[in-house]
Symmetry: D2
Subunit: 345 residues, 4 copies
């Protein structure tokens, strides 16, 4: 099969190594360059022995020419880096998928407030397509620049989408109580994510306001066709991978068969799995896979709907969704390289 030339900017974090794991097994990808200022010259497999025998490349200094020769580039850098490369790559005709937040928020002022910096290329924000295939598949096909969604936003949006689209819940008091594994906090040296700090403990964080809040709200507003009132509380769980979003809404119409609605909405989606009624999806059921598994409940038959939505934050919440977007952009089978079962136990 023909392959495309793919580059990765900034591949030393967890989304980077996860991209490498997925791309190493992807039959249509020829990985030609992976950049890192800090690790330039070092073999990828020396830093990540899990990739010995699978990735032969060494990290290199970012180089505009090499990147421009790629068909598609993933940016797996911290927030604020992709926006400094984007214009150049666009001009060179390279497709760009940014796994950070630079192009996710359409309102640049809002983005600048939450991310605390000035945007380097606001004109590209409008052009960028938010890469949630279940919502934007047609636009992704033609996109040159993808804003790959955040992990929490993926789990929360897919869980609320059918209810908001169908106007079945009150929009003024939505609750998203979300729990994440520690890898979501990244691979940076940090006292707060040391093993001895987070193992055998559980906590909420950023209750006054988390950067994923405006991203989620933007999506939910779009589904509802109006501004929704959302409370989003993220928590840190002592596990490596996984997000579990527990979503609460107040039904405005209690006659609809919610289970059926979810099943219909996602019937043709390769990566959204609506579980049988009464299910409680575990995060491990999606470990290492690109699936989002969803269950819907109405406790005691009341007017509260509870949606349970789980993803692997590094796959459907980051690298896997990025590969899914690449597949769509390049007219590959959407599941190519992503169709492996979860790891259990």
């Amino acid at each position: 099969m023909n392959t495309i030339k793919v580059g990765i900017i900034g591949g030393t974090g967890y989304t980077g190594v996860e991209l490498l794991r997925l791309l190493a097994a992807h039959p249509r990808v020829n990985l030609v360059v992976i950049t890192s200022r800090g690790e330039a010259g070092r073999k990828v497999a020396d830093l990540f022995p899990s990739l010995r025998g699978h990735v032969d490349l060494a990290f290199s200094e970012p180089d505009a020419k090499t990147l421009a020769a790629c068909d598609l580039v993933f940016s797996a850098t911290p927030n604020g880096v992709a926006m400094t490369h984007a214009r150049e790559l666009m001009e060179a005709g390279v497709k760009l998928i940014d796994l950070a937040a630079d192009f996710r928020i359409k309102d640049v002022a809002v983005w600048e407030k939450w991310y605390g910096m000035t945007h380097a290329c606001p004109e590209l924000v409008a052009e960028a397509v938010y890469g949630l295939p279940e919502v934007n598949r047609e636009r992704i096909k033609k996109a040159a620049l993808i804003a790959n969604p955040g992990c929490y936003p993926t789990a929360v949006q897919l869980g609320f989408l059918p209810l908001l689209k169908e106007k079945l819940i009150a929009t003024d008091w939505l609750i998203a109580d979300a729990k994440s594994g520690v890898s979501g906090a990244g691979r940076g040296a940090n006292v707060g994510t040391l093993y001895s700090e987070v193992a055998d403990s559980f906590k909420a964080y950023a209750v006054p306001g988390h950067r994923h809040l405006p991203e989620i709200s933007q999506g939910l507003d779009g589904f509802a066709g109006k501004t929704v009132g959302l409370t989003f509380v993220p928590h840190l769980t002592p596990m490596i991978r996984g997000i579990h979003a527990t979503l609460y809404g107040k039904l405005t119409d209690s006659n609809t068969d919610i289970q059926l609605l979810f099943e219909k909405t996602y019937a043709n989606e390769p990566f959204v799995d609506v579980m049988p009624a009464g299910s409680h999806p575990e995060t491990r059921s999606v470990r290492a896979s690109n699936s989002c598994r969803i269950a819907v409940h109405r406790p005691q038959g009341g007017d509260t709907v509870v949606v349970l939505s789980v993803i692997d934050n590094l796959v459907k919440g980051a690298a896997g969704q990025a590969v899914q977007n690449m597949n769509i952009m390049c007219s590959f089978d959407e599941s190519l390289g992503l169709h492996t079962p979860s790891l259990m136990p």
Copy 2:
């Protein structure tokens, strides 16, 4: 100091061994008997080497006479056992603290529905005092029979209490999203709580209805003076000890200083610690201690109040609260034997 004679019925589970840990260090307790049909004859410290050098007793067959000679008995058995002993102990003038659920629900029909059995001594249910000292301290002082609260109910009730008492939140849509460590599921052999089943994963369970729901509702109804609408969703977290309850309410009066309200409510409580504004209590901050730590938030200054309430499910959520109740019943200092710092890390 004078000591009292104390017995434990059924000491082979986690609440049992935690009671032993606390009582072994309690200066006013003389532990005279601990029963277990399954382990009768075996030294306690053989089953629980952590107690070597601290507990010299052996488990014995339950014997009415020996128990009747105690001043106070803790029942740490599965649900449905304490109610078969209670009358006899009452008649012998022995104080009884039941750590299971037999006497928690005042409406016997409700109890029988949720626990799936016929109550053996419904007449004692009315007499029993619900052992949440922050609510019932005066009645506990005079009680002969204590229904020691469940773990989730303790964390949730202490978190909602000030808001409901002061009628500051809408009572028709309360959300309690609670997360528990695995020890809450007990020490029984069970595939569902094997290490390889629950480690590195997270899930909700019992969303359609958990036995702690009627217990919590009964308490909240009491605080509010009317029936509240509560959605309670428990989750299993890969940690040994700890409960984190994240509570959501809709403020009906947004002028009250919520932080101040909580601080005032619990100002004189030895085991409720209201954290400074902006805090995110971790479950490990109460590991092995009898404290409940609480923080209150109003995200983005809106009309949603978020309460974070953490306890150690085996201490304030079980054995520690039982000892606190014993202290109150026996006119000891309420903190006696409970005033040790948490274990961190």
Copy 3:
């Protein structure tokens, strides 16, 4: 590509579900039957939601005819079951790979002593080939019945093999200090492997004697050409998957380049990866992969050699090695279906 018809006897344990994960992605396998008395009639993906969308079969009662129609059958049952099926399958011309211990020990009396039962078909023990491809590849090609090695034995034998073959260490005092994740203890309900019993703790077990001792000794004796003196101490580690064997030997010849020896020995092995000098392989570097990674040390340049050998106990230590054996027996590429990178983090 042509496929073979494959059956699994007893697929509800961890080796069973791991086999399913690997076979579901294997291009030459047509999984036609999976038996379980306890779960007969239940969809595999109901018990293991991680396989939703990948395995469509339901468990069925064991049925001789259905199994006899397979080209190859994996037995993933407890010890003592495969030996009751083996003769029938052999007679039907079905290849059999037993993941339990029934055919691993050549001396039937030794087997009966350690496993506490009478062997049902001692005549097949001689015929069975011990399925360690690095040692027995040629015999595996022609085998009808494979005794798939145990997890500890795989890690320990691959670590000692080069040293014993070359007669470089004293054979009278070998130490194998091995550490296993909890999944090695299986999916049975058991107090000893509950999360709350084994999390955040570490212990040795079976120091007086573990069933894998005679299996390892038999292998090492074969490498050395004489009886070796081995002390084997297994430990339980709070992790799901992984074995780390730390092996100690006393060099009899300190001039040999040990690193080079290991590199040469395993140069052509697809699943043994000798790490660069000075390495410390982590078990996670082989999580979900069929690799055994090995590092060799001579601390302070002395006459003690330390070998570090890591595998995933469910893959190279069980299901992956079984698939590797199947590939060899069926003349498939030996790595077919096994060439995916490890999961990190």
Copy 4:
């Protein structure tokens, strides 16, 4: 009871917070100062909420006068700091217990090689007493300066001591295979000890040489009365607290009753617990306690002796042993403030 004035230099690491936990509950200690350059001015309980209600002090800049007014000072700083304070404190008549390594190695040249710095007060090294009470109790009573032992050295020395003292094992090939929880690596920000790096994985480290090797060797040489040959391999285990040392020796006299020897040796030791024959101590059995639990085995009755020795690295391996030393130096009951049961589960 009279109290002594106690100070802590550098209390922001794990040994510091553990000292605080223990000292807060110690009836003869008046904690008057705790220094930290980085956290000066901050309340201790703000950094460590587990100490809310137990420690009221704030961190302060190190100040010679305040420290000189103490009766006893603990130094819980990184290696190389205590040696810069020691002389001044000695001259002021303050007893000093150094929890780091500055005074542990009697041969200053060896210390300087392994720790990579020039010793600031070599003349005090000779004067310092190595604070292993089971070996040096009488000297500790009169000491002004204590070198508190390392965590691995405590577990390994207590395990080998009876065998070497009685000359029962060959001294030329001792193996200490030791496993530590992650808190042993400290509270510094470090990629290598992030949750996502060490959870669900196991590895050896520092096989070519660990700083605790010369400390252990010095102790074992002393027991044996000659230079021993020791191979020490430390491993990192995914748990917070605990060390498990598995020790191997070759018996030179196989007639001695090893179990009895250990029981006799430690019969009067308050913090060494020799388990019954056949035991496998778990690290959790000493979690939060100052005990070292030891079991002895002779697998298959051969000439190899296997000693299993477990401690809590932060208690008997650091802060607890320091308090034990303080108790001895100040003629308090040796167990004062240390006699609480372990935390289980």
